[in-house]
């Protein structure tokens, strides 16, 4: 049998799933030397030392075994305390919190726990790359809802409602958003909450960037009256505490959902790594100052990046959360893929084409400003040079004017 013949044995859903658009770009970028990358969806900071030290201590003391499926009780307590302290959300540490291997696993568990083949999962886009594929792996049908820069990438109840059908079961929300950096305005959030209740939708709310906000404090969806029990809150330590490689996340929700998710987790994962759990206890207990320091730095970079893009003539709306800027590059006459590819080849700066996050991302690129100020300044200089060159080469067009 030809090697390819084995593909016939594959589950067609898996076989036909295209690899992540990010992945393709990664292959191109990783072969080049001297690249300044703004394509990385993770902090440039290393995990704060006190957190690393807690893990080293735990290893020295011999914490090397399984934990309970739900995670260490002390960690669940800290998670509950953290949620209560920041937003007044009350979760029972026994029945309503599950510690997972990254928020990625929590997301997978949430969707697998509720999606039955044929169920529609409503996903506003551009969005983080895994919601659709994960829904499809459990037989769900992703229904994408476009958002647009004209509304500052807000998800509106009106747009979501248009996408609903009798098979709609789950709405996936992500705010602060990857890739746009948008946070939800209060009014829109409340209207979405009303819609979810009126149309009986379960909401999987990915709030992994909740600590990284640069204006109004974050309102968790579950804090809106009537939403707590129909929301599965997804969060993790990857972004706020600079702990991506530790693989630690969690879900909080009503006992029925958490119990179901725990069942899958118990058979597929057993538990999150104990080393990461020990570190997470320390992070949640006393990482507040380190988070605040990092947020302060991101904010400065954010202002620099947004202002610089606008000065180049590439409109960039002000992202109020996460660590991404999402400038509109269509004024250069290039598609976002062309822009990203040529920028990489000609100036060695990696950004991710917006189309990788959904059709509404076309014409935009995602720039992560989780990079040192030195790298960021240099990258912005190179991008400005590139934009000047590209736009002056356009026949019959004026070079891009500043602003818009």
């Amino acid at each position: 049998m030809k090697n390819d013949g084995w593909r016939d044995y594959l589950n067609p859903v898996v076989r036909d799933m295209p690899p992540s658009g990010i992945r393709r770009f990664f292959d191109l970028a990783s072969e080049m030397a001297g690249v300044i990358s703004l394509g990385v969806g993770e902090p440039d900071f290393v995990t704060p030392w006190h957190v690393r030290e807690a893990c080293i201590w735990a290893l020295e003391k011999g914490y090397t075994m399984y934990t309970s499926n739900q995670g260490l009780p002390e960690l669940r307590n800290e998670i509950a305390r953290n949620l209560a302290g920041r937003s007044g959300l009350q979760y029972d540490t026994q029945k309503e919190i599950l510690v997972t291997v990254g928020s990625s696993e929590a997301l997978d568990l949430a969707l697998r726990a509720v999606v039955v083949p044929g169920d529609e999962v409503v996903i506003p886009e551009p969005c983080y790359v895994s919601y659709g594929p994960v829904s499809q792996f459990s037989g769900g049908v992703p229904v994408y809802v476009p958002t647009s820069v004209a509304d500052n990438f807000q998800v509106t109840a009106a747009r979501v409602e248009k996408a609903l059908s009798p098979r709609s079961k789950v709405l996936v929300l992500c705010y602060p958003n990857n890739p746009t950096g948008a946070v939800m305005e209060k009014k829109n959030l409340w209207e979405l909450a009303e819609l979810a209740q009126a149309r009986d939708l379960i909401v999987v709310s990915d709030e992994i960037y909740d600590n990284l906000v640069y204006g109004a404090p974050h309102t968790p969806l579950a804090a809106i009256p009537g939403m707590r029990d129909r929301t599965i809150l997804i969060n993790g330590l990857s972004k706020a505490y600079a702990m991506t490689g530790w693989r630690l996340g969690y879900a909080a929700g009503n006992p029925a959902f958490i119990e179901a998710m725990t069942k899958i987790h118990q058979y597929t994962m057993l538990c999150a790594p104990i080393t990461a759990q020990m570190a997470a206890i320390e992070a949640l207990k006393s990482g507040g100052a380190a988070v605040a320091r990092m947020v302060g730095q991101y904010d400065r970079r954010r202002r620099l990046v947004v202002r610089s893009f606008n000065d180049m003539g590439l409109y960039c709306f002000e992202p109020k959360g996460a660590f991404y800027a999402f400038p509109d590059v269509s004024a250069t006459g290039l598609t976002s893929e062309e822009f990203a590819e040529r920028l990489l080849l000609e100036e060695k700066v990696a950004v991710v084409p917006g189309g990788a996050f959904g059709p509404s991302g076309q014409g935009f690129v995602r720039c992560a400003y989780a990079a040192s100020m030195e790298d960021l300044s240099e990258a912005l200089k190179r991008i400005a040079r590139f934009v000047r060159r590209v736009s002056s080469g356009r026949p019959g067009r004026e070079p891009l004017a500043a602003g818009r």
Binding site: I22, F26, V40, G41, D44, R301, R303, L304
Partner: protein
Amino acid sequence: MNGTEARAILELLEGNARLAAEEVGRMLGLDGSEVGAKIRELEERRIIIKYQTLVNWERFGDEKVSALIEVRVAPQRDVGFDAVAERIYRYPEVTGVRLMSGAYDLAVFVEGSSLKEVSLFVATKLSTLEDVLSTTTHFVLRSYKHEGVILDDGEADRRLVVAP
């Protein structure tokens, strides 16, 4: 401009003195000329004292010798420790002077090109000062961290080039 913004300017410049006012403005969402004016004001008030470069002389190949000298002094009427501190910090060999609580009074940092030079300075200049009661010299063997900066090569960026 408010105090928080001025503090942010100081923090940025403390981390990197070479930032232009324009760049600082971009990072803080302020006007570059406004930032420039504020910086000049901070310089005039000697809140910004000096722009320096932190050099790892050892890596450059220079063998400098530095020492921490614990100095016990007899404080003087009216001027306390200030007069003797001034007598000490006037010497160019002295790179730092701090008044301390505890077992001794002044922590004096001295730099020279050899052990002999530093020892000689302590013996002939410091300990002979009228109000100096005693000195204890500790030579620095290695500097790991200076003014909040780790002198080692630090932690490389180990992230992949593109990640979700």
